[in-house]
Symmetry: C2
Subunit: 232 residues, 2 copies
């Protein structure tokens, strides 16, 4: 399989978190010209959008769009209202989907990326989802991404011409520690990112939600220092 040429474009879903910043760095390293897409969807941790902008500026993108789409009216997630769970045992170990799950979020984000990718003539959509050290969301699993690939091939003009827009999740089967190591190798500045579901008004991470705990554990396993400040 040949890699991307200089002219190959990719739309990269950029949340402002550690994973998507690393996925972006990997896509850049593979030669893609990257177009960042972030979504202001009514999340309580809107601070991540500032992080997405900082990551976009630091890594350098062809363009960065922040699309506004308020999903909070639908409700159904503690990322909109109610209490974000803290200090829980891993929901994946209980075989449950946690309350931070936002119904259809990745499907909505991938759909938006698909629309932009088709207009740009992009060959790939890159996303930082991970099915190993993750929160157990159904729309982060490999079989979900395969189903979206099939959908993308049928949904688009490009698909009807026998060309594919590759749905590429380079971190899918990596541990958090592997992600961090690769990102550091590629020069990702993790002080610009934020993983927390429930930061304080200044954007300081809580240190106790699922996302913070996965991140802290990942850094601990690498033996490197997490440059983020945590409340506790």
């Amino acid at each position: 399989m040949s890699g991307p040429g200089d002219a190959d474009r990719a739309v990269v879903l950029l949340s402002g978190g550690l994973d998507s910043a690393t996925a972006l760095a990997i896509a850049r390293d593979e030669g893609y010209r990257c177009f960042g897409l972030s979504v202001d969807y009514g999340q309580r941790h809107r601070h991540e959008l500032d992080c997405a902008r900082r990551v976009a500026t630091a890594i350098g993108l062809e363009a960065h769009r922040v699309v506004s789409l308020d999903l909070s009216g639908f409700g159904g997630s503690t990322l909109f209202s109610g209490a974000v769970p803290k200090d829980e045992i891993e929901p994946t170990e209980r075989g449950e989907i946690p309350s931070t799950y936002v119904p259809a979020r990745n499907t909505v984000f991938l759909s938006l990326a698909l629309g932009w990718a088709e207009v740009l003539g992009a060959r790939a959509i890159v996303l930082g989802v991970n099915a190993l050290d993750y929160s157990g969301y159904p729309d982060c699993r490999p079989e979900y991404l395969e189903a979206f690939q099939r959908l993308a091939d049928l949904a688009t003009r490009r698909g009807t011409q026998g060309q594919t827009i590759r749905i590429w999740a380079p971190l899918l089967r990596w541990t958090k520690a592997e992600i961090i190591r690769r990102g550091l190798e590629l020069g990702v500045d993790y002080s610009l990112t934020s993983s927390c579901y429930d930061p304080d008004p200044e954007g300081v991470s809580c240190g106790r939600c699922d996302a913070c705990r996965l991140r802290k554990r990942g850094f601990a396993e690498t033996g490197r220092v997490d440059p983020l400040r945590y409340s506790e």
Copy 2:
């Protein structure tokens, strides 16, 4: 297979056009409690959103949401800018996708409906797409809808519990005349709907775009009078 019970909810994608109004009437007739979803996506024919509201009021919904999501920044369609084609031969006969195609539109709409459906505990998503008298968009084909069904089953909490949210396109294989006949039987007031891609500032349909021509031909075949006013 048993039909829906009284308590069964459905999210209905409501554009304001003839097809989705008919699909809504069919879903109601089958016993679903219907929740309407419309999207203000930057379309030039925004007049259709007023129509969607009027249809929602006339038919009666549990709720009607109009989500704002500006896709026009992505471009790629004459529904955003440029000239809507008039008096063309059917694009489907040329085997081409017309310039009014909006990249990934149905994927985005279905994704939004999926999120809301999951929160509502809805059993179905109803949409008015049609693969017979239609504009030749790739995301109106049966195989596209089957792929979305598979995606929906993998994407959701409900899916992981072995339950499905049915992606239901009751008009998929009907001619426009069959759609209109069934809608009239069910009492749909087509004067409230608008199909035109390029209405004038007062909302009067152009009569010459693809959507107007399909509608006019459909009414002609039924021998019934189209209650809409056309510029020509």
